[in-house]
C-alpha cells in the first residue's frame, strides 16, 4: 500500500493530508474532508455526479486520483455554494422543480456553471450538449434546461446597461 502526503487548497482552505495512492479525488473529498456534496454514482466517468472543479476547470472526481491534486486548487459544490457564485442557479433549480431526489444536482449545477461562466447566453442545444455528461434519473432534463436557460438570460440582463 502506498500512501503519499499531499497539500492542496479546497474551497479556499489549505489542506495537508496523507492519502492512499488508490483514493480517487471524490472519495478523498467525501471521506477525509467530509465534503459529501460531491456524489459517487457510477465510478467510471459516465454519470457526472462527482463533478468538481480543479484549477478552475470541471473534472470527474472519480477519474482523478487524490494524489494527482497535490498543489491543486479544488472547488466543490460546498465552495461554489458558500461563495454565492451559484445562488441564482440554486434558486432557479428550486423554482422550476429541476430536481427531485437531488443526487445529480451538485454535479449538474457545477457543469451548468462551467457553461454559464463563459458569459454568453447559450442555446438550449448548447446547454443540452454541455450537460450531456450528467445523468438525472428522476426529474428528466427539460426542467433542468429551463432552469439553466433562465439563469443565463437573467445574468445577461444583469450585465446589459
Amino acid at each position: 500500500m502506498t500512501a503519499l502526503d499531499i497539500s492542496l487548497t479546497v474551497n479556499g482552505e489549505r489542506v495537508t493530508e496523507r492519502v492512499e495512492a488508490r483514493n480517487t479525488l471524490v472519495d478523498f473529498l467525501r471521506e477525509e474532508l467530509a465534503l459529501t456534496g460531491s456524489h459517487v454514482g457510477c465510478e467510471h466517468g459516465v454519470c457526472g455526479a462527482c463533478t468538481v472543479r480543479v484549477n478552475g476547470e470541471i473534472v470527474r472526481g472519480c477519474l482523478m486520483l487524490a494524489v494527482q491534486c497535490d498543489g491543486a486548487t479544488v472547488e466543490t459544490i460546498e465552495g461554489l455554494s458558500d461563495s454565492g457564485e451559484i445562488a441564482d442557479l440554486q434558486a432557479a433549480f428550486e423554482q422550476r422543480n429541476a430536481l427531485q431526489c437531488g443526487f445529480c444536482t451538485p454535479g449538474m449545477i457545477a457543469a451548468a456553471q462551467d457553461l454559464l461562466k463563459r458569459g454568453d447566453v447559450p442555446s438550449r442545444d448548447q446547454i443540452r450538449e454541455h450537460l450531456s455528461g450528467n445523468y438525472c434519473r428522476c426529474t428528466g432534463y427539460h426542467a433542468i434546461i429551463d432552469a439553466v436557460e433562465s439563469v443565463a438570460q437573467q445574468r445577461a440582463k444583469g450585465r446589459s446597461p
Partner: protein, 278 residues
C-alpha cells in the same frame, strides 16, 4: 468499486518514465479518463502507476515545417479551443467536440487516446485519415511510427512495453485541404456506433488523395480504399456501393446495421469534403 492498491510515482523526465516502465506491471497515467475507469471497475490492476503529467515539454502545439505537432499531454479541451489547430489541423478540431464531455475533455490527453487505441475512438481514425506520424521514446531512444503502421489490432499498437508516446504530427492543412467528420452515437459524447474521419485535396471540383478512415467497424480504425477511389472519381453513390468494410456485430448494433450507417455517414462526410473552405 474502488481500485485495487497500487504504487504511484511521478516521473519528472521522459527518461525516468521509460526506466520506471521496466518495473513489473507498470502503467502510464496521463489524463486517466479511460485508465482510472478501468481501475475503478477492477478491469485492470497494475502494480505501479507512473504519472507523466509533470513531465515538461509534452503539452505543446506547434506549426513548423509544414506540419502540426501536438504534444502527448495536450488535453482534448486545449485542442478543441486552439486557433492553430482549427486553422492547420481542422479535422482534429472537428473531431474534438465528439469526444466524451466537457469534464472529460479537460483531463483526457491526445497521447492517451492514441496509445489506448479504442477501436471506436475518434482520434486514432483522424490520425489514419491524415497520414499522421507518432513519436515514441523507449529504452533505445526515439522513433517515429506512421499511423498506418501504428494501430495493430484491438487496443493493440506498435508501442513496446517501455515506449512512451511523446507527440503526434499531422500535415498542416493548406488552401486545397478538405476534411470531414461525422459519427453516430446513442448519446452525445459516447463512443461511436460508427464514425468516419476523412481528408482530401480539392482540385477544382475534383477530390484527390481521398482518405476515409472508419471507426467502430473493426478491431482498429480502417481505411475504405475502394470507396476512396470511387469518391475520387466523383460519385458518392458509387462510393457508398463500394464501401469495403466488414463490420462485426457488437453490443451496439449488428454488422449489417453498421454497414448501412457507414453509408449514411459517407454521404454526410462527402458533402463536407465538397464544401469550399471559408
Amino acid at each position: 468499486m474502488k481500485p485495487a492498491p497500487f504504487a504511484y510515482k511521478k516521473a519528472r523526465s521522459l527518461e525516468e518514465a521509460v526506466a520506471l516502465l521496466g518495473e513489473k506491471d507498470a502503467r502510464l497515467l496521463a489524463g486517466g479518463q479511460s485508465l482510472i475507469a478501468t481501475l475503478n471497475m477492477r478491469l485492470s490492476s497494475p502494480a505501479l502507476l507512473i504519472d507523466i503529467n509533470g513531465i515538461g515539454g509534452l503539452g505543446g502545439v506547434a506549426h513548423k515545417n509544414g506540419k502540426v505537432e501536438l504534444g502527448a499531454l495536450v488535453r482534448h479541451a486545449q485542442a478543441e479551443h486552439s486557433e492553430l489547430i482549427a486553422k492547420y489541423a481542422p479535422l482534429i478540431a472537428r473531431a474534438m467536440p465528439h469526444i466524451g464531455h466537457a469534464a472529460i475533455r479537460n483531463r483526457g490527453t491526445l497521447g492517451g487516446s492514441v496509445a489506448f487505441a479504442d477501436p471506436a475512438a475518434e482520434l486514432p481514425a483522424c490520425l489514419l485519415a491524415l497520414d499522421a506520424e507518432i513519436d515514441a521514446t523507449g529504452p533505445k531512444g526515439k522513433r517515429t511510427i506512421r499511423a498506418q503502421d501504428f494501430f495493430k489490432g484491438l487496443f493493440e499498437t506498435a508501442l513496446g512495453p517501455q515506449d512512451v508516446l511523446t507527440a503526434i504530427r499531422v500535415p498542416a492543412a493548406g488552401k486545397d485541404t478538405r476534411t470531414g467528420f461525422a459519427e453516430l452515437a446513442r448519446r452525445h459524447g459516447d463512443y461511436a456506433i460508427v464514425g468516419l474521419a476523412a481528408s482530401a485535396r480539392a482540385d477544382g471540383k475534383k477530390l484527390n488523395d481521398v482518405h476515409l478512415a472508419f471507426f467502430g467497424v473493426d478491431a482498429r480504425p480502417v481505411r475504405a480504399r475502394k470507396a476512396e477511389a470511387a469518391l475520387a472519381s466523383g460519385s458518392v453513390d458509387a462510393a457508398v456501393a463500394a464501401l469495403d468494410l466488414d463490420p462485426p456485430d457488437d453490443v451496439q448494433a449488428s454488422g449489417k446495421v453498421k454497414q448501412h450507417l457507414a453509408g449514411v455517414l459517407l454521404r454526410r462526410v462527402a458533402a463536407q469534403l465538397m464544401e469550399a473552405r471559408p
